[in-house]
Symmetry: C2
Subunit: 198 residues, 2 copies
């Protein structure tokens, strides 16, 4: 009973995270009720994502016509400190703190089990090459992977691989999150918080 173009929209958009068929249907009619210029501008905004590709150094996204992403191209960023993150949104979260002035490597979504896939290996190899070109070693490599069991495992492997290529290899501090309640912290977190007390 729905026109084919609406069905196609709902089918495609309901697969996106946090959407689902109900919200996709509501969105379809919301969009159809916008004026044509507003709809055209959203179509344009989505289409614009095609103009992006990955930075060959850190693998964040950049406009396709730029050589590097805005972070790698920024001369004010410290080149000797690199944070390895899993996802682009992890990079955004770190940028938001305003406390990090180095560069990044986007490792790519880690699988739930198993070891690195070809994408991860390629990106780590690119980082090694980049370190080599920059004089052979970093001041600090921050392995900013989430402290899950696979994140920890991946961090160990990366730590081994980059030993000798960085003066310091660190991970993010663990402890009670701001606003978190001690009563509800798990044992591991609480142990880390005790060890790292200051």
């Amino acid at each position: 009973m729905l026109p084919a173009s609406i069905k196609k929209f709902i089918e495609g958009f309901s697969k996106l995270p946090s959407l689902g068929p109900r919200l996709a249907t509501r969105l379809a009619f919301y969009l159809l009720n916008l004026d044509r210029a507003e709809l055209a501008s959203l179509i344009d905004a989505l289409g614009g994502l095609k103009r992006l590709n990955r930075c060959p150094r850190c693998f964040f996204f950049k406009e396709a016509n730029a050589a590097l992403c805005t972070i790698c191209a920024n001369p004010a960023r410290a080149t000797g400190t690199i944070a390895v993150v899993e996802r682009e949104t992890d990079l955004l979260a770190i940028e938001k703190t305003g406390k990090f002035g180095g560069q990044y490597l986007i490792l790519g979504e880690l699988p739930e089990k198993g070891i690195f896939e070809s994408t991860h290996k390629l990106r780590l190899a690119a980082l090694k090459r980049h370190i080599g070109e920059g004089g052979g070693h970093l001041k600090e490599l921050i392995i900013a992977l989430s402290p899950t069991s696979f994140g920890d495992f991946a961090a160990d492997v990366i730590g081994q691989e980059f030993k000798g290529l960085a003066e310091k290899i660190t991970r993010l501090g663990r402890g009670i999150p701001t606003g978190g309640e001690i009563e509800f912290a798990d044992e591991e977190t609480l142990s880390s918080a005790l060890e790292r007390r200051s």
Copy 2:
């Protein structure tokens, strides 16, 4: 720090209902991490909404190259019974029940106060014209507007205007919703439920 194309996407999509900047950002990177064919298919699906326009009879959406929407064009639907609904999604909700075999008029989103706007007036005029062409009167006009105070007011106005153009003018039954608890029903709903007991 974000590429302009990502900023533009987040700016546009964060204005959509239930999205907001956080989810729009997450969506941007989700989409960028899809393979190119999947992204292209979503761009296509969104762009396809431009190919739709409104049915001149009921104002639901139809493919632009069709004369009427699939409901108005369906010879199996009763032409003498018309349900007036506010939104396209109200039509979908009624269709989902499988209990209605008539046709519709999409009135358009009602303003929170005031009377009908030009869109509503045009659509009601189109319905009158259509009733005229069809022999001058309907078997039943169901005013399926939500039982809010403005919905009630609008229903009264429509009821007056179409008096004489339909054998029966009805509204949806009011009562306790399925799964609802009597204890928590408001007085009006409970009064209606008592009056309409069966």
